[in-house]
């Protein structure tokens, strides 16, 4: 009994010490090529491999969000998909494209996770299982981003403008994986009123979001039945990854870019 009590007391004292050190400081801003990086470490270490480092910027220049997050079925949180090497070998998840046969933009996509990897194959493993290792990539971020229109924060790239200018053409359909759907009726953009007086209204670009994400990505998991006008999207909730924060904290343009959303000037 007294041992249990002492453990409880120690835990309480330690937790009290940990409590206050979280807010009030500026966090490290990820470098433009680090923004959108996802580290996946479900089973890698068990297989004696470094955790996987997935870079969003390469993939988002080639595919819409919907292709990966709806058609292929990736979760929206690191480790949430629970990908195994067997899944990849069977042609699911990463293996949907990373199969040594699919050709994207004229290049054959390297195969992920093959059994009985030989010495040279093992180097291929490191192309994804690269956490903490210095691995040369096929794509150099600086060369890649140089011709693209610039924006502040995040990757430092205005992905919207890049698409509108035809500099990137994200594919929205993967043969053999995506389901043939009718084109979506154009969704209307709408205004959201901010809680803080003096902040410009938010014009939510429903149209653009549905072009990239379809409906299922957001509804109902990220945006459940909240009546329009009853504002439930506080900036604090968003910064913790709820609602808009599911994307706009670590992959899409970050919350520091206030005017990207708060864009309707007050009369």
């Amino acid at each position: 009994m007294s041992k249990k009590l002492s453990i409880v007391l120690i835990v309480i004292l330690v937790l009290c010490g940990l409590g206050p050190s979280q807010t009030g400081i500026k966090k490290k801003r990820p470098l433009p090529y680090e923004y959108g990086q996802v580290v996946i470490s479900n089973y890698s270490e068990r297989a004696d491999l470094a955790p996987v480092v997935f870079q969003h910027w390469i993939h988002r220049s080639m595919f819409t969000c919907r292709v990966c997050h709806v058609d292929v079925g990736f979760a929206m949180k690191a480790g949430g998909t629970n990908i195994t090497a067997l899944d990849n070998e069977r042609g699911y998840y990463c293996g949907t494209c990373h199969n040594g046969r699919m050709v994207v933009n004229g290049k054959t996509v390297f195969q992920a996770c093959s059994r009985g990897a030989t010495g040279e194959d093992a180097l291929r493993c490191q192309r994804c299982h690269s956490y903490g290792l210095h691995v040369a990539s096929d794509f150099d971020f600086f060369r890649f981003s140089q011709p693209l229109p610039k924006e502040r924060f995040g990757n430092g790239i205005d992905w919207e403008k890049a698409e509108l200018s035809g500099l990137i053409k994200p594919a929205d359909f993967l043969e053999g994986t995506s389901v043939h759907r009718n084109p979506l009726a154009v969704q209307k953009d709408f205004a959201l009123n901010p809680k803080v007086e003096g902040m410009p209204d938010i014009i939510f670009s429903h149209k653009k979001h549905t072009v990239w994400n379809g409906c299922e990505l957001c509804h109902p998991d990220i945006f459940t039945g909240v009546k329009r006008g009853s504002s439930h999207y506080s900036m604090i909730d968003i910064s913790q990854g709820k609602s808009c924060g599911a994307c706009h904290v670590s992959v899409a343009f970050p919350l520091t870019d206030c005017q990207r959303c708060h864009s309707k000037p007050i009369a």
């Binding site: 041992k3 004292l13 400081i25 500026k26 680090e34 902040m199």
Partner: protein
């Protein structure tokens, strides 16, 4: 059968309880002991705001010494910490010669092309092994080296009005002695500016603490919104968080700037109306 009380168990328990009471006692004393709420004296003004960047690269050019006073006489805080994206902590940004070459971080301006004060800014981390260019390396990689830097604090700041500690930057700007640049082509992105915010009073927790009127307007002119919100000041509701001096001295909230670069926390009267000019 009755269990014999274990002597070891009860002595551990007594130790834990005594320790908890002792810690609680310290905390109570600290509440009324002003020393916990008073900052230590800052270094001399020439060294205040100095950031030493040292990635400990073997056989590298040595640590970089970045003094804020030169850059803050020319640019707003927002330009560097929001548009360019420097972190607010030494070595936290991830600057390397590679990022500089690519036009990020120091290389955003230090590229041999961007014009400031009518002349191009020298290139940082040049590729060339030219001996003359090596001098430029030393202008930044100056830790422990004498006579390599172009500007010296007392000469550069001689003409600026002085405060109780260092330069009175606010007055210098009001008098038109410095004109802060808030936009650099190729670095900044043109945006519809957000409306500058109004000043507001901050609730103090103890009646003997002098009142504060927070200069929100000035802060938004120099920092924009993004520098402070939401990371440094997450609460959108006033008085939702107690920005105690204890946290500020730790380097959180106001202390994120006013402990290292902006006027130090020792200058009580700058925030607390009617308070002593300098902390005892």
């Amino acid at each position: 059968m009755k269990r014999r009380p274990n002597r070891n168990d009860s002595s551990i328990l007594r130790f834990i309880v005594a320790g908890a009471i002792f810690c609680a006692g310290i905390a109570t004393v600290a509440q009324i002991d002003l020393q916990i709420y008073l900052p230590k004296n800052p270094p001399p003004p020439a060294e205040y705001g100095r950031v030493v960047l040292d990635n400990h690269t073997p056989n590298g050019p040595g640590a970089v010494v970045f003094d804020h006073w030169l850059h803050r006489s020319k640019f707003t805080c927002r330009l560097c910490h929001v548009d360019v994206g420097f972190a607010m902590e030494a070595n936290a940004t991830g600057i390397s010669d590679r990022t500089n070459h690519a036009g990020f971080h120091c290389g955003a301006c230090h590229n041999g092309k961007t014009i400031v004060d009518g002349k191009p800014v020298f290139a940082a981390c040049s590729d060339s092994k030219n001996a003359n260019l090596a001098q430029d390396c030393l202008r930044c990689h100056s830790a422990g080296k004498q006579g390599v830097r172009q500007y010296e604090y007392s000469k550069f700041t001689a003409r600026f009005p002085k405060a109780i500690y260092g330069v009175d930057w606010e007055l210098a700007e009001r008098n038109g002695m410095i004109k802060l640049i808030d936009f650099i082509d190729g670095v900044s992105v043109k945006k519809t500016p957000l409306r500058p915010r109004e000043d507001f009073p901050l609730q103090t927790h103890y009646s003997w603490v002098h009142p504060i009127t927070f200069s929100h307007e000035k802060h938004t002119i120099w920092n924009g919104c993004e520098l402070c919100h939401p990371e440094i000041f997450p609460a959108a509701v006033k008085d939702a968080v107690h920005y105690s001096m204890f946290y500020n001295i730790e380097g959180r909230y106001c202390g994120e700037c006013h402990g290292k670069v902006a006027f130090p926390l020792n200058n009580c009267r700058k925030c607390h109306e009617g308070a002593p000019l300098w902390a005892p």
